[in-house]
Amino acid sequence: MNAPIIDVQVTLSRWPFRRLPLDETPALVEALQSHGITQAWAGSFDALLHKDIASANARLVDECAKHGSGVLLPFGTVNPKLPDWEEDLRRCAEDYGMRGIRLHPNYHGYALDDPLFARLLQLATERKLIVQITTAMEDERMMHPLLQVKPVDVNPLVDLLPTVPGARIVLLNALRTVPAPILPKIIGAGEVYAEIASLEGVGGITNILQHMPAGRLLFGSHAPLFYLESALLKIKESPLTDEQLNGICRENAARVLAA
């Protein structure tokens, strides 16, 4: 695998519960580059719990500019439960020129059938922003006892997406939280993509392609919380055609970004 890779899920700053070997941005970028990852869509761990999300987004932009080496694309976070969240969205689009945003509905306390989410999705789509939805950050079984967060239920997307034409959704860590049999319904509800970071099972990519088209599958590592090598080895574990491999590793993500 020598072709360049687009990683749609990395995260900067500090995971709240432990230090991670690659949680300094220069070290992360060096690791990404050493594995042929030429672009990575970066959110911030600060976005999970910080109320001053505007400063978390500002730091994310700053960090990507200072240490990103042209690899990191900042994906700011908007929390629609915060007062005047529309201004955060405006800054992401207008001031920072971001290509997308990353949402954490479970950490921010709303469900996808909340009218606030519908409005956020509508406004983000009008601003041509990709909307990443992280369905889970980690395994619920080992969460901190004082911070147990259920995975996001993505079923409301089925009814919502037809009402928001042009919406581009990238689900993060959903291939563990969304059962494979209901995946076609979710992926088919609109322009919905999923990435491989938390995909499991022997020959995982081969298996999941029986439930969704290869054109909707993206490369995501969930580094630095996960070892970067996990996603890289998954594309080796499953026997894939060159077309599937190029699509998953790069072309699908490039197409989402260009739209």
Binding site: D139, M142, V202, Y227, L228, S230, L232, L233, P239
Partner: protein
């Protein structure tokens, strides 16, 4: 990912979760994926369908499935015998059938009984007498363990009663930051890296707190991918020599006495 490539022995694989209708079909598929990932040898345990509290009939059937799967691949795979300590006599008989008089080299205990229970003692003593490895599943779930599901703290109790046994802490308790601490004082407990998310820092902490000799690579395939689990070793900030010990050297060292006793060249 190492140069030259590391020899890899996988401590922890299953027939369940692998495509195929028979043990033989599943084994072919499992080995096919393993080969793509450079895995030379693997340990297999439990049958085509898992059972929390197997009756003696059920664990015998599961072990028969593993024996069948192994039958064509004694050069590439080893088996551990699945037992239920709630059936002490039947478990000892099954150990004799599959380990003493058969090709298997260890025991797998899952969630039928807490591993600090006295009912384990004769089984662990018999395993130690035959140099068989004892793999005990453990997890610490903030969402609640299964009724008979063991923790690493319970395994530590068992270890202090059986200092001569080779005990493996399955999944390192899942919540590995707790599991590693719980087994740390007991030099005869080894850490299985398998079966949880590839969370960065796990392997580094295990090596730091236990010493590299006590850390073993396992995948828990087919439920898990080989990729996510190998990443825990390849991605760790440890030396290449340490990676080689974890990927095969340590397991080879632990299995050598029982394999040699069976006349298998290592």
């Amino acid at each position: 990912m190492l140069n030259p490539p590391a020899e890899i022995w996988d401590l922890h694989t299953h027939l369940s979760g692998v495509p195929g209708r028979t043990p033989d079909e599943k084994m072919v598929n499992l080995l096919g994926f393993a080969e793509r990932m450079g895995i030379a040898k693997q340990v297999v345990f439990m049958g085509m369908e898992f059972s929390y509290e197997p009756t003696p009939e059920k664990f015998r059937q599961e072990n028969d499935e593993v024996l069948q799967a192994l039958s064509h691949y004694h050069d590439r795979a080893f088996g551990f015998v699945y037992l239920n300590p709630k059936f002490e006599k039947e478990s000892l008989d099954e150990f004799d059938r599959c380990v003493v008089n058969g090709p298997m080299v260890g025991i797998k205990l899952w969630v039928a009984e807490h591993c600090n229970a006295a009912s384990l003692d004769p089984i662990i003593a018999r395993a130690a007498a035959h140099k068989a490895l004892v793999f005990q599943h453990t997890w610490i779930k903030i969402t609640g363990n299964l009724p008979g599901e063991s923790t690493p703290m319970e395994l530590a109790e068992l270890a202090s009663r059986h200092p001569g046994a080779i005990l493996i802490c399955g999944h390192c308790g899942g919540d590995w930051e707790l599991g590693i601490r719980a087994i740390r004082p007991h030099k005869n407990i080894y850490a299985d890296l398998a079966g949880g998310d590839p969370t960065a820092g796990f392997t580094e902490m295990a090596v730091r707190e236990l010493g590299v000799e006590r850390v073993l690579f396992g995948s828990d395939a087919g439920g898990r991918s080989f990729a996510s689990q190998l990443a825990k070793v390849y991605g760790a900030r440890i030396t290449d020599d340490d990676k080689r010990l974890i990927l095969s050297g340590n397991l080879k060292r632990l299995l050598t006495p029982i394999l040699e006793a069976k006349g298998v060249k290592v």
